[in-house]
């Protein structure tokens, strides 16, 4: 049920609207984390929600990420629907025991008795000169955890519908929000409550010469590269994965089979990144169609640089994507 009217919103506004609608629709939904109450979150994603829904349903927690995850799990065990914010994805690390040992495991270890409707939202990624540790992209770590889902939207309109699906979901969902897009991405967003299905990738640009695959903050980078390539007569197909787990393998493989050339783009560290999983799936499922090796454009095997003058050399750019396209097209 998509409402007729749409307005232009940025990512922060779209996510705020989704949280607002979820809180209004289901009284089991609770929004909590560090600074999400009175302040409205360090990025203002939860702005106005505490005033509207009260301190019971939108509340600040003590500054302790493992405690936040444990609280989210316990509340869900007791029948609530937790929407926890971790201030930056790079601050998920103190909570890894809760995440790896419990969040995705409870349904399995209780043989279905304890399911956990928990959404963990966290801003991730670089491109905006944040301090050290604030630009990490730990999606591969999360995707490597059984029992959780991982969603990374690339636009305000998609984010709203995907977040509402995540909150309705019976399983834990990590919802990573690219910091670069918070105010940088603006799009028409339908009013009212609507959901977009998890677990489906989508082709955001058609093309027949090569395929770009990415998600979140990399989608605009891939589209920019595709635009430049088009001026040289190269038609690039662009896939926005949106959900990393569960992965829409069919759409991914079909998009690669169509062009026979694939470049995977992600801003996390290259080795063991989620793009490696994509490359492996392509090798397993579409090798006969490949006319060139799969190329990864990713961060380097180093910490995300806190040095603002040179961080753009770490985070994939359209220029780097174009170089990779040239490589697969001339192989």
């Amino acid at each position: 049920m998509v409402a007729e009217k749409a307005r232009v919103l940025n990512l922060v506004q779209a996510i705020n609207e989704a949280l607002d609608l979820a809180l209004a629709r289901d009284e089991r939904v609770l929004v909590f984390g560090e600074d999400v109450g009175r302040l409205g979150g360090v990025f203002r994603v939860t702005e106005g929600l505490q005033a509207k829904y009260g301190e019971g349903r939108v509340f600040d927690t003590p500054l302790a990420e493992s405690g936040i995850l444990g609280l989210a799990i316990g509340l869900a065990m007791g029948g609530m629907r937790s929407v926890a914010e971790i201030q930056f994805a790079g601050f998920l690390y103190p909570a890894l025991d809760q995440i790896l040992s419990h969040l995705g495991r409870w349904r399995h270890r209780s043989r279905g008795r304890v399911g956990l409707p928990v959404v963990v939202r966290a801003p991730y990624g670089g491109g905006v000169h944040t301090p050290e540790q604030h630009a990490d992209s730990p999606e591969a770590l999360l995707a490597h955890t059984p029992g959780v889902k991982v969603v990374i939207p690339s636009s305000p309109e998609r984010a709203k519908g995907l977040l509402l699906s995540a909150i309705e979901d019976e399983d834990p969902v990590f919802f990573l929000e690219a910091i670069k897009l918070y105010r940088g991405a603006r799009a028409e967003v339908p009013e009212g409550y609507y959901t977009l299905p998890l677990g489906r990738a989508r082709v955001v640009r058609e093309g027949k010469h090569a395929t770009l695959i990415g998600y979140g903050g990399m989608v605009e980078v891939m589209l920019e590269a595709a635009e430049v390539a088009a001026r040289e007569g190269v038609e690039v197909l662009v896939v926005d994965l949106e959900t990393l787990v569960p992965l829409d393998e069919d759409t991914l493989l079909e998009a690669v089979r169509e062009t026979g050339r694939a470049v995977v783009v992600y801003e996390a560290m290259r080795t063991g990144g989620f793009g490696a999983e994509i490359a492996a799936r392509i090798a397993e499922g579409a090798i006969d169609y490949l006319q060139a090796p799969v190329v990864r454009v990713a961060g380097y095997d180093a910490p995300y640089p806190p040095f603002s003058a040179i961080e753009h050399h770490y985070r994939p750019s359209a220029k780097r994507v174009l170089a990779a396209l040239r490589r697969v097209l001339t192989h």
């Binding site: 089991r28 609770l30 019971g56 927690t61 003590p62 302790a64 493992s66 405690g67 995850l69 444990g70 609280l71 989210a72 799990i73 316990g74 509340l75 869900a76 065990m77 007791g78 029948g79 609530m80 937790s82 103190p94 025991d97 809760q98 040992s101 419990h102 995705g104 349904r107 399995h108 270890r109 209780s110 043989r111 279905g112 008795r113 304890v114 399911g115 059984p146 029992g147 889902k149 979901d169 019976e170 399983d171 677990g199 787990v245 569960p246 992965l247 393998e249 397993e284």
Partner: protein, 346 residues
């Protein structure tokens, strides 16, 4: 803060009703009976690695019986006595320790979740579960448990702080059994009593003789009442001793003396309670014998039930990862179901 170890046994007064005292004894004796049988089964290869609780029955049963029907238990892995006293059927517990999937889904009516294997992660989760009751307008209280070693973990600190800040109705039972596997309490912390830490969180801290069922039960009851009335959490430290090894894979002779074990054996919580009951004319050899016969019969019945559980089939591995099988789980499920592995089916 001055802390005094609360103790009732070995004194003149008899602070409980006959019914309560007998219920404690029966549940503790039943738990001990299970523990002994479990160790035997393990030696026969009919149980997996097992964590015995022998010596800690008063601490666990005392708290279990202080709870109401609607209350929840969030246990660690040495809490089989707590689970039994909360109504988990023996055959389910046997299957749990056999690592059989049928033992990992606790029955709906049992208000206890599966034991936690990582240390202290249960603490913040117990706080969340307690708060969920408040949101739902159900006044359930949560009892969670941890050992002395577990209190060194960050999650213990975070969980207690959260509980205090949110005024959560939780009883934190610390079974201070003197050792974290081999590391003695004195190498774990500098405080005399763990309950002392409660003050730092802004909640009451109580330390009891953990081998005194009356003391544990009465103090746990007070804590439950406080929690139910909306007066927040309590840290309840029970001083006790693990008479058996850490698990069936452990060898305590490498880190503690026989003399020490014997000294604690003389403070066995079951013997002490039995003495009190006998002195009050509530128990005797005949009643003990009848109880043991009853327990023997019950255990035989329950073991037979556990033995009837069919061998799990491999596709169980990928079930209940998500509410519904995803593409990757479905592929694996179909392969395993056919006696294959997923890479064989390409």
């Amino acid at each position: 803060m001055k802390l005094k170890v609360v103790q009732y046994l070995d004194k003149e007064e008899f602070p409980l009703s006959e019914g309560e005292a007998l219920a404690l004894y029966r549940a503790m004796r039943r738990a001990r009976f299970f523990d002994e049988k479990a160790l035997l089964l393990q030696r026969q290869g009919r149980l997996g690695v097992y964590a015995p609780f022998m010596g800690q029955e008063a601490a666990q049963v005392g708290v279990a019986l202080a709870l109401g029907d609607r209350d929840w238990v969030v246990p660690s892995y040495r809490e089989s006595a707590l689970l039994l006293a909360r109504g988990l059927p023996i055959h389910v517990l046997i299957l749990y320790w056999r690592a059989h999937p049928a033992g990992w889904r606790f029955p709906e009516g049992v208000r206890a979740v599966n034991p936690y294997i990582p240390i202290a992660t249960q603490i913040p989760q117990a706080v969340g579960l307690a708060l969920a009751g408040r949101y739902r307008g159900e006044d359930w209280v949560v009892a969670t448990s941890i050992g002395d070693g577990g209190t060194s973990e960050g999650d213990f600190h975070e969980g207690l702080n959260f509980a205090a800040v949110f005024h959560a109705p939780v009883i934190f039972l610390v079974q201070n059994n003197q050792y974290a596997i081999s590391v003695p309490r004195a190498k774990q912390m500098r405080v005399d009593y763990i309950a002392r830490r409660a003050e730092g969180y802004g909640m009451p801290g109580v330390v009891v003789d953990g081998n005194d069922a009356f003391a544990v039960y009465l103090e746990a009851k007070k804590a439950v009442e406080r929690a139910r009335k909306g007066e927040g959490p309590t840290l309840l430290e029970a001083l006790t001793y693990r008479l058996a090894p850490h698990t069936t894979s452990d060898d305590p002779s490498r880190y503690r003396t026989r003399e020490e074990e014997e000294a604690w054996r003389s403070k066995d919580p079951i013997l002490r309670l039995r003495k009190a009951l006998e002195a009050a004319g509530l128990w005797d050899g005949d009643l003990e014998e009848a109880l043991l016969r009853e327990l023997e019969e019950e255990f035989a019945r329950e073991l037979a039930l556990a033995d009837q559980a069919p061998e799990p089939t491999p596709e169980v591995i990928v079930e209940h990862v998500y509410a519904r099988l995803g593409l990757d789980q479905r592929r694996a499920w179909e392969a395993l179901r056919r006696g294959k592995h997923v890479e064989e089916l390409w």
